[in-house]
Amino acid sequence: MADLAHEQTMDLGHPEHESTGVDNRKLGMWAFLSSEFLFFGALISNYLLYSNRPGFAGVYPSEIYDIPFTSVSSFVLLMSSLTMVLAHNALSRNDQGGTRTWLFATAALGSVFLGGQVFEFTEFITLHDMKLTTNPAASAFYLLTGFHGTHVAIGVIMLLSLWGISRRQGELSEKHGMNLELVGLYWHFVDIIWIVIFTVVYLLSVPPV
């Protein structure tokens, strides 16, 4: 495929030194993700600003984190990055069956993570009475983790679409091969953001003294 791309660009009068040589869609995804970094950067800063401000009514998120539980679900999400790499690797070897398996595994791990988040939210709300409306720290926590969860959910939908296309067509064509790379980029991004959230928001965050 790389050869083909080269040939095409030469034919069309675009020697490589005038363009980046990176596929348009991949470059677009990078540009989009650079924007997403700032989106989560703002959400995380917002949480840090409120997480240990004294004097709020109700509980602070950092008082009720279940670190062992979240560690497990974080590990699950981390593993999904591994399975994503395996899916990508399988496709590059043209192992269509392997690709499908690893795609499904990635989506499944993502779903497990989402399930964990739903469980966590439910516990926080029912057991600890920490709602979106409890205090600004709680609002910031739910906004941040909620938007991250939404990103994971969108990722799962994209993974399952690819899996479905692969099942229906028996293989992932070159076009969808690029799609797999794009979804992979997105998925790794979402995982990296979670690692930051888990470290900064869960592990390092302390309630006000």
């Binding site: 083909l4 791309a5 040939e7 095409q8 660009t9 034919d11 069309l12 009068g13 675009h14 020697p15 005038e18 363009s19 980046t20 990176v22 596929d23 348009n24 869609r25 470059l27 677009g28 995804m29 540009a31 989009f32 650079s34 924007s35 997403e36 700032l38 989106f39 950067g41 703002a42 959400l43 917002n46 600003l49 409120y50 401000r53 004097g55 709020f56 009514a57 979106l132 409306t133 409890t134 205090n135 600004p136 609002s139 910031a140 739910y142 906004l143 938007f147 994209m158 679409s161 064509s173 070159e174 076009k175 690029m178 799609n179 794009l182 979804v183 997105y186």
Partner: protein
């Protein structure tokens, strides 16, 4: 494009195929048509925003005037700012970028044509959503800090003295939406929800475009069009796109916080529950200041194209101008708190942000001096585009200088929130951005019409606008320093501000008159203007190497660029003294180019039109209407319907190839096909 064969050849719907009529516009993926639609929509909102301004000025022409009610006044200044920034200058710049970016870098379209259509339709529906607040929005009197106060019937019938109170049911928290005034307690109707969610939609449109433009610039440049050979407008488009990429997510977060506060009871800005209203200001201006450069940099790019052409000299200090633009953008992220010098931030922060703000004057100065250097020793032709470009430099300088006076922090404590600031940013955004945009319209009008605009009317337009503009905004400096605060519905006669306000109002109507003349000129010149030929201005850059009006395929033969101002160097040599010398066969060269570009050697395949961008964009406002009224069952259903519309459109989009298979696509020798990506970026 071997990949084409593997694409499914059938989709659920029959693919749109009309090339004329309304459907061709609704389904187009042609960057030029999208640019034109952006342009007309932006101009429409320019007129709306202008009418809002005129109503404000009628109110202020008289002390203690009761022409408008307080509510109507507040709504009008809120919508005037919001409209002019988000619905006029941004989409007008987007119009130029869409139409011109591929032409300037010698490409046949942007990197993702359908994504381009998507961003236009998202913008269009976002604008309609925002303006539908005039029909559906409500704006209630404040409910007071503890829910006390706000006794029913507080607003006298008709909302207090004045007329036009029906306008009051629209966003009234200012374009800056300061919390908690624009929050759930103090703006309790739905109008500010329309504002917050409307901006969210419009922001998404800009985000999608900027991804598209960044990739276009990086990957679709013509052969030989190295980055430092790109026209400055292409550069400023790139810089602006990066600014958008990095600033929009911040306002998106801030607007989500407001929406959650207003809709779902979160407490981000609720001071009574420990929320910090100043956080909103930090987030807003962390976006808002780069936004100022998002508004001005494209116009600076336009001016950097016009000045060399009409001075018949290269742009002085090309790389300095480009890097100064990038430097302005970079520094623009470090100065946001200068909008908040009165907010009681620490003196260290005030001093630091004051100094940072001053440093922006340096790259701005570099630009201005280089523009002067471009004119200096030139052979200046004062056609209308040039008049506007010179007007830009002259007026923007004034705005820049008053800007330096706010960087002097203690001075700013006096000036902030007064008409002095209003004067300052109108000199930058009207004297700057809008003059630049008008210059661009006159300059590139031949590219869409094949004709030039009437020069006489153009000059009348320019001088009237120049006169009206200065009569409107120059006295505002004085008004501000005489203590006229901003956003003021009434002022007392004994403040002595009235005579100056009369002058300002007269100026505003002169501007309106000049805009009417422009419109007359535009529409008559489209039909009866003088045919422009390929090169009406003896121009320098490659967008003029294709016939006017631009053919659908842009270039039959993409230019192979050898240097900056490629087109000029095809026509001109230099003599021993370094003077330009027109080549003997320049006219033949132009004629040959025109012939080549009009007669493609082989059929050129362009991306097919598509319904899906339109439909996908339609889902968003549908969902957002649902969010505003989310308590009701029908609204919950509406959210679902919107989500399904968008999802379905995206699935259809994914299944639809960018181009339908066509004969001969295997033949690489003849394949003149546009090298769009091997697909389309529907994931982004």
């Amino acid at each position: 494009m071997t990949a084409t064969a593997e694409r499914p050849t059938t989709t659920i719907f029959r693919r749109p195929s009309s090339t004329t009529g309304i459907w061709s516009w609704l389904t187009t993926v042609d960057h030029k048509r999208i640019g034109i639609m952006y342009g007309y929509a932006a101009f429409f909102f320019f007129l709306i925003g202008g009418i809002e301004a005129l109503l404000l000025r009628i109110q202020l022409a008289q002390a203690n005037s009761e022409f408008l009610t307080a509510g109507a006044y507040n709504a009008l200044f809120t919508m005037h700012g919001t409209t002019m920034i988000f619905l006029f200058v941004m989409p007008a710049s987007a119009a130029f970028m869409n139409y011109l970016l591929p032409l300037l870098i010698g490409a046949r379209d942007v990197a993702f044509p359908r994504l381009n259509a998507l961003s236009w339709w998202i913008f269009f529906f976002g604008a309609i959503f925002l303006y539908s607040t005039f029909f559906f929005g409500t704006s209630a009197a404040p409910v007071g800090v503890d829910g006390v106060g706000g006794i029913d019937g507080n607003l006298a019938a008709g909302g207090g003295p004045g007329s036009f109170n029906f306008l009051a049911d629209s966003p009234d928290g200012g374009w800056f939406g300061y919390q908690p005034n624009a929050g759930p307690l103090y703006s309790s109707g739905t109008a500010m929800d329309y504002w917050a969610l409307g901006l969210q939609i419009i922001g998404l449109a800009s985000l999608v475009s900027s991804v598209n433009f960044v990739v276009t610039v990086l990957n679709l440049r013509a052969k030989g069009m190295r980055l430092l050979r790109m026209p400055v407008f292409a550069w400023m488009t790139t810089v602006t796109s990066f600014l958008l990429l990095f600033s929009l997510p911040i306002i998106a977060v801030a607007l989500f916080m407001v929406t959650f506060d207003r809709q779902f009871g979160s407490l981000f800005f609720a001071a009574s529950n420990g929320g910090d209203p100043i956080l909103w200001q930090h987030l807003f201006w962390l976006f808002g200041h780069p936004e100022v450069y998002i508004l001005i940099l494209p116009a600076m790019g336009i001016v950097s194209e016009i000045l060399p052409t009409f001075s018949r000299k290269p742009l002085f200090g090309y790389s300095a101008v480009v890097f100064a633009g990038a430097a302005i953008a970079f520094l623009g992220f470090g100065v946001w708190a200068h909008h908040m010098f009165a907010s009681g931030i620490t003196p260290v922060a005030q001093a630091a942000f004051g100094l940072a703000t001053m440093t922006i004057a340096i790259p701005t100065g570099i630009k201005i001096f280089n523009w002067l250097g471009t004119m200096w020793m030139g052979r200046i032709h004062l056609d209308t585009p040039m008049l506007f470009a010179i007007g830009f430099v002259a007026m923007f300088t004034i705005g820049g200088l008053s800007g330096v006076t706010h960087a002097v922090v203690p001075s700013d404590w006096q000036q902030t929130d007064t008409y002095y600031i209003v004067a300052h940013f109108h000199y930058v955004l009207f004297g700057g951005a809008i003059f630049g945009l008008f210059g661009g319209l006159y300059y590139w009008f031949p590219k869409i019409s094949g004709r030039t605009m009437n020069e006489t009317l153009g000059k009348v337009h320019f001088w009237l606008m120049m006169l009206g503009f200065n009569l409107t905004f120059a006295p505002m400096h004085w008004l501000g320093l005489q203590g006229m605060v901003r956003r003021t519905w009434k002022y007392a006669p004994e403040t002595g501000l009235e005579p100056w306000n009369v002058a300002v109002t007269i100026g505003a109507f002169i501007i309106a008159l000049s805009v009417l003349i422009f419109m007359f000129n535009w529409f008559t010149s489209r039909r009866r203007g003088r045919p422009s030929g390929l090169d009406p201005w003896d121009a320098r850059t490659v967008e003029w190497m294709t016939p006017n009006p631009t053919p659908e395929y842009n270039f039959a033969v993409p230019p192979v660029v050898t240097r900056l101002d490629h087109f000029w160097h095809l026509k001109y040599d230099q003599d021993a003294e370094g003077r330009a010398a027109r080549k003997a066969d320049a006219d033949e060269i132009i004629a040959r180019i025109e012939h080549e570009q009009l007669n493609p050697a082989a059929p050129i395949h362009l991306p097919n039109p598509s319904y899906f961008p339109l439909v996908a964009a339609l889902g968003l406002p549908t969902m957002f209407y649902g969010i505003i009224y989310h308590d009701a069952l029908w609204a919950k259903a509406l959210i679902g319907v919107g989500a399904i519309i968008t999802l379905a459109a995206l699935i259809g989009w994914g299944m639809e190839p960018l181009e339908e298979p066509h004969e001969g696509h295997e033949d690489h020798e003849l394949d003149e096909e546009l090298e769009l990506a091997p697909g389309d970026g529907h994931d982004g």
